[in-house]
Symmetry: C2
Subunit: 274 residues, 2 copies
Amino acid sequence: MTRQELIHQIFTKKTFLCVGLDTDIKKIPEHLLQEEDPIFAFNQAIIDATAPYCVAYKPNLAFYESMGVKGWISFEKTISYLNKNYPDHFIIADAKRGDIGNTSAMYARTFFEEINLDALTVAPYMGEDSVTPFLQYPGKWVILLALTSNKGSHDFQLTTDQNGERLFEKVLKKSQEWGNADNMMYVVGATQGQMFEDIRKVAPDHFLLVPGIGAQGGSLEEVCKYGMTKDCGLIVNSSRAIIYADKTERFAEVAAQEAQKVAEQMAKLLPSKP
Amino acid sequence: MTRQELIHQIFTKKTFLCVGLDTDIKKIPEHLLQEEDPIFAFNQAIIDATAPYCVAYKPNLAFYESMGVKGWISFEKTISYLNKNYPDHFIIADAKRGDIGNTSAMYARTFFEEINLDALTVAPYMGEDSVTPFLQYPGKWVILLALTSNKGSHDFQLTTDQNGERLFEKVLKKSQEWGNADNMMYVVGATQGQMFEDIRKVAPDHFLLVPGIGAQGGSLEEVCKYGMTKDCGLIVNSSRAIIYADKTERFAEVAAQEAQKVAEQMAKLLPSKP
């Protein structure tokens, strides 16, 4: 999906919500455990119910890999289902990959050619040749970790170098030598509040993927106040607060209600047109 | 596997070689493509042939994931085969994972409980809570990326902070607040030569996992000169130079010869006892 197509989706649907498919067999409604593939059954129901209120889906691969081969089957079925039935939704694999050049190239082939995702989260620690193989696919995106939503983000990401530049700022600047606002986004945690102002000084046009509202406690208003651009420039993710809002047979319906609530908030915060 | 068991293996077998199982369907001998599971058939033959000359195996998950569900089956079969037939070998999954706490905990469960590996490579960018969930398993190891073997390692890992400390040094120091030399190792690329001296100032006792000899051009002598400790303290990996040394039906035999050559070099460089 191109940047223009993404912006079109956001302003047409008046939402910039991403639903995180962090599907955990221990947390899904019990009645689904009788299904042949409970993880896929859960995802399918959540997707069908929430699709009108979001522009993106983001399965976190850890949850699927934790189930081994079965988990990979559920993951691939979920992506196929999305590609077939919801081609206008942006599909992100939250994988946080990144390896030496030839290995990153293998990952890129997997996720962009075989599985046909729109975007992949990538960790920046190994530098240029770990990231650039993902940038060779038209219409596909790297979403590079910049300032994450967790407590540990303070350990290294905020380290200030000899020129007074923090590591996450260095990541934002350096990576703009490799890609641009048409093929690269950044992960910035909603829990980082006013840091969005600093991010926008270095990356004024890039889309930001923002985890951390809902269960992690970040504020949507604050994120928008400091991080929104004229093109929106934000994809805000919520996982647990939506998909596990209810554990009965009504889970999908309640998830849709939760997604709708967030989307309504978003509609108020979004400019009327790009 | 505990640190003492690992040291015992190294000094008994007089080798600290790790064979990297970066198995690529496009690079394995053609006659294996008729097998039901060519990747596993290749790994099995390579393992049986090289086991006397190495103490560790390291499949890089990218190569398996690039084949989707089939690849995961081959990966799990390989690990089961190793656990069953070579329980004295140290098994590392080169996964470079790392996510927020609850997600890292999922990964830890997968790799240490379900799949029963000895160690997992982990990326440090997200800090403490992305790493510590992996440290909760007795006899299991985190191998944290410190100074990698690729060109991109210069982009961020060598950034010097306001106290004159480079990022990889900060990773080495900070992470020693989370784990110790009994449950944590570091990845340091063989291509980094004399940097091993600096690494040893900060991490004098930790084992280092060293990729980058062979195809990537690092020198075993230099790594040992600057990086070896009285307990050896090194696991040196070679992938392509061993497993793809020959592409005929003799591939496993030739791989064994290559592994043996490296092991003979290692025997000369190793102290006679810890």
